[in-house]
Subunit: 230 residues, 2 copies
């Protein structure tokens, strides 16, 4: 009665940030015709597996990572001949992770797994470059109205780390003083009593943490996280 020959896959665009550079995770295919080419981590879902679980499983299998943040990005299925064997519709997920927390390991399915700077992503298989672009846009816009930047940083961070993250992802200058004032005014970032001397010279800075509990409380009221200025 219903004659559909379509398979469903999930793919993940995993962003990592380190020292001023934004990275995307890609894996090298081990199986199939086009072995060796780079693609986003992902794969077919199992019959009884929820979509989110499928993404998490694939990330574990192909790169050995667990993410800090994960949300659905969108479903790509109009490229009807993206796979030669049958039509594939892929549900793409957008993920954030702190690369420091993991050593990438290409486990089961992937031959290799690597971080590529977003500015230098190779030609990927399928419509994956398109997905990365969409995800990148999403990241940029979400950064301004949701406190997801913290999911890319260490739990304890210097204010300058946060500031640099915003600058480099949004690709523009931010006034350090206004930025700090604004962020602190929300009351969702708290100062620890730890002081750390970064890299080389300069005055040591205090470490800060993101207070998620406080943020969730505020959300119940009509608080709006919002960072946008020149």
């Amino acid at each position: 009665m219903i004659d559909q020959n379509i398979k469903i896959a999930v793919d993940a665009i995993v962003f990592g940030y380190e020292k001023g550079t934004l990275y995307v995770l890609a894996v090298q295919q081990r199986f199939g015709k086009l072995t060796d080419r780079w693609v986003l981590p992902g794969g077919f879902i199992l019959n009884n597996e929820p979509l989110l679980m499928a993404v998490e499983r694939e990330l574990k299998e192909e790169a050995g990572i667990t993410v800090n943040y994960l949300e659905q990005l969108g479903t790509f299925g109009d490229d009807i001949h993206r796979d030669e064997r049958f039509r594939v519709i892929s549900v793409a997920y957008f993920a954030l992770v702190n690369p420091k927390n993991f050593v990438l390991k290409a486990d089961t399915d992937a031959k290799d797994a690597r971080w590529f700077p977003v500015a230098q992503i190779p030609k990927l298989g399928y419509d994956h470059n398109e997905m990365v672009n969409l995800a990148h846009q999403r990241l940029k816009s979400k950064l301004t109205y949701q406190p997801i930047g913290f999911d890319l940083l260490d739990q304890e961070f210097l204010f300058s780390d946060l500031e640099n993250l915003y600058c480099s992802i949004l690709e523009r200058d931010i006034d350090r003083r206004n930025f700090r004032k604004k962020i602190l005014s929300f009351g969702i970032v708290t100062e620890t009593d730890k002081v750390v001397k970064m890299g080389a010279s300069g005055r040591p800075g205090k470490l800060f943490t993101f207070d998620k509990t406080k943020y969730n409380q505020l959300l119940k009221g009509n608080f709006q996280f919002d960072i946008r200025f020149a």
Copy 2:
């Protein structure tokens, strides 16, 4: 090799607005076990049919309408037993239409098609109530940062229509004077020379139109449509 027994469907949450009330389109199932129950318009996609095209086709078939605005909302597939026969994953689309432009007709697949006020949506089949809720939220938030309200109105409208639309969808009072000032300041709404006497008494009002061309021009710069105030 890949043993997937999953079917893919599309569903649409179609919003219509008329005289202060926001409506959602639902259709009554004609086929299947659970005949007569209300669901969102939608259905299985064809093997070679792009997702968007599938939605458009279903809307045509089940209700005889074409929409003004259509975008992907999200993919719902975790409710593994939503259909008894096999797992169904559904890509939901969010659509806006002006109900005046169409007479609903339940064509091929549906027994009936009706507008339900969002405040009084019956229990729908599958996870469709959940979809409606998500879409409703999306509508509310998009209204503030994208000029999609116009897709719910006539091409020529009174300022009070626009204002009432915002008030009723966002469910709050808006200062008429500040609202008008703000909208006009964008320069994307132009005054026609037509004057119309609404309903009964009161001073006649000028008709306005949304200048989409101008809006697209502005978008190329760094214009941001944004309406949010008390």
